[in-house]
Amino acid sequence: MKNLSPHTHLYRLGALLAAFFVVFLVVKSWATPASWIDDVDNWYRLDSLEEMKLKPLVFGGNESCKECHGKTYGQFTGNTGNEHKGLSCESCHGPVTRHAKGGKKIADAIRESKSTWQCQNCHLEMINKPKDFPQFKRQAKIKEHAEFLAGLFPEGTVCLKCHAAHDPTPDKCVKKEDPECSSVAKAKK
């Protein structure tokens, strides 16, 4: 029988816990990410900022359309009276990365040619829209507009029959020379 003191078990327990503690500290310092920012309120892995910058962009902004569509870009931004000037091309046509890659087209850009949804989304009158924003009612005062919207022209984007999307100002109206168009006649009076 070994000569054990009355406290041997406590010493062994203490040693066991101390060893565990040391191992824990070693593992903790090894596992802590290298770029860790160690401040009470700012507590994060600094490398994550660099990683987040690498996320690929989806929208390119208007400058990314200019390269290939210079003429339309010029129309869109040129005329000072153009109410649509400064709008984002991609807000109607979809993000550039879904349309072109490495300077080559990979898919058609979106063109709302089958319905008036794109135009209505902004311009259909709704009570939540600011009063000074150009909007039209469904029960339009101009009879011609009402006929269009009632489906007399089922194919194509009816708005585009008179309003060029890239420059909708009246004197850019696509039917401005059309003698049949009564609103043109009215305007000329």
Binding site: M1, L4, S5, P6, H7, T8, H9, L10, R12, L13, L16, L17, F24, K28, A31, T32, P33, W36, V40, D41, W43
Partner: protein, 405 residues
């Protein structure tokens, strides 16, 4: 249903479509509460020296330990990235109450384990000697003694001292272990039902209450199954203390709501339609009217009118069963009820009961039953209600004890 914010339709923010902290997060504070409660019962004997509780002190500690072994499981199952759970130990963000979980839980389990070890050491030594450290089981016993297979009589004093220190430390530690959960909820100013300084206190008190009630239910069941005699003086004192703590607990729960109602503060604007709407059945009727009022009256009856033994036992179990449910329901009302309030402050989110998923009811039930299974296993291996103290004459117990000449 009345809606807050002068709203005429139930509007919730688009991202409020789901209740993120579900049944598992209801179970988690419940389990840590049981740990804290069971530990407090053991301190009634070890620290406060109330003699009646001496025989159930070990039982309380082992129960606390069993619940403790499973306290982290609901959290692990709830995490979106459970494999990253160890980050709580590596980079705990000290401004977050949740960050202290890692260290507090771990050290508390060590504290419990050491305390149980010091009490049962004589038993481990006896077992190690009986099996002579051979075979797998024998080796386990040997390891449990840390290689010290003789019981030095003087070590009792040192053991008792360390035990006393651990018990003293254990109280604030148990309060931290469960109080921090209350702090998690209390610190969220964005949720009307959660953000209040009273939350940690209410959580701790209801933890003590639930731990005590659960212990009594377990004790009754075990004593009945093992044909142990019921200790009626202990049960009576137990119920008296339980009554007192329960009274303070429900007072504070009601006080919180009372202040909001009286001051008609911003939180009340969301709390009132919540209480009288989605939470009517579970909070007003369930938690307060049935499961708080009735146990309060029953416990009061036991403490003031001293009914006969059998009646006391029955009423005590009735009250404790209701209290155990009350605390569970309180956790549900706080955790899920709070999340029903949309951050829009103009509507309520619907809670959908989930049964079979990773965070579902069956998983929660399985996690909750596991500590009881563990307790059963442990109770087959070490004596819980018998004393584990070292008796050299134990092996000669069958012979009549002849006095020394």
């Amino acid at each position: 249903m009345e809606l807050p914010g002068n709203s005429i339709t139930n509007y919730i923010f688009p991202n409020n479509y789901e209740i993120w902290w579900s049944i598992l997060i209801v179970i988690y504070p419940y389990i840590t509460g049981l740990i804290a409660g069971a530990f407090i019962v053991s301190t009634l004997s070890h620290l406060f020296r109330i003699k009646e509780f001496d025989n159930i002190a070990n039982f309380s500690l082992v129960t606390a330990f069993c619940f403790g072994c499973f306290a982290g499981v609901p959290l692990l199952f709830h995490l979106g990235q459970p494999q990253r759970a160890l980050e709580i130990f590596i980079t705990p963000h000290w401004t977050s109450p949740m960050s202290i979980f890692g260290y507090v839980y771990f050290t508390y389990m060590i504290l419990l384990a050491v305390e149980i070890w010091l009490i049962y050491r004589p038993f481990f030594i006896r077992r190690a000697n009986e099996t002579e450290g051979s075979g797998l089981v024998g080796y386990v016993w040997y390891a449990m003694t840390l290689g010290v297979t003789t019981y030095h009589p003087d070590s009792l004093r040192a053991d008792k001292k360390i035990s006393a220190i651990l018990t003293g430390l254990g109280i604030p530690w148990a309060f931290a272990l469960h109080g921090y959960v209350g702090f998690i909820f209390g610190s969220v100013k964005a949720i009307a039902m959660w953000g209040t300084p009273l939350q940690p206190v209410v959580f701790i008190l209801s933890a003590i209450v639930s731990g005590m009630a659960m212990l009594l239910l377990m004790y009754t069941f075990i004593a009945w199954r093992t044909k142990m005699p019921f200790e009626y003086p202990m049960i009576r004192k137990f119920m008296l203390i339980l009554w007192g703590v329960f009274l303070i607990d429900i007072s504070l729960e009601i006080l919180e709501l009372a202040f909001h109602k009286y001051e008609l503060d911003r939180q009340w604007e969301n709390l009132e339609p919540l209480m009288y709407g989605p939470l009517w059945e579970t909070l007003i009727v369930g938690q307060f009217l049935i499961l708080s009022l009735i146990p309060f009256l029953v416990l009061g009856f036991i403490s003031l009118f001293h009914p006969k033994d059998k009646m006391t036992l029955f009423l005590a179990n009735l009250a404790c069963l209701m209290i155990v449910l009350q605390v569970l329901l309180m956790r549900y009302n706080v955790v899920i009820g709070g999340q029903l309030i949309s951050k829009s402050e103009r509507g309520f989110v619907e809670f959908h009961w989930d049964f079979f998923s990773r965070e579902g009811v069956f998983m929660a039930a399985a996690i909750f039953i596991a500590p009881f299974v563990l307790y059963y296993v442990i109770s087959r291996v070490i004596p819980i209600f018998d004393s584990p103290a070292y008796e050299p004459e134990d092996d000669e117990a069958t012979e009549p004890h002849t006095p020394a000449p």
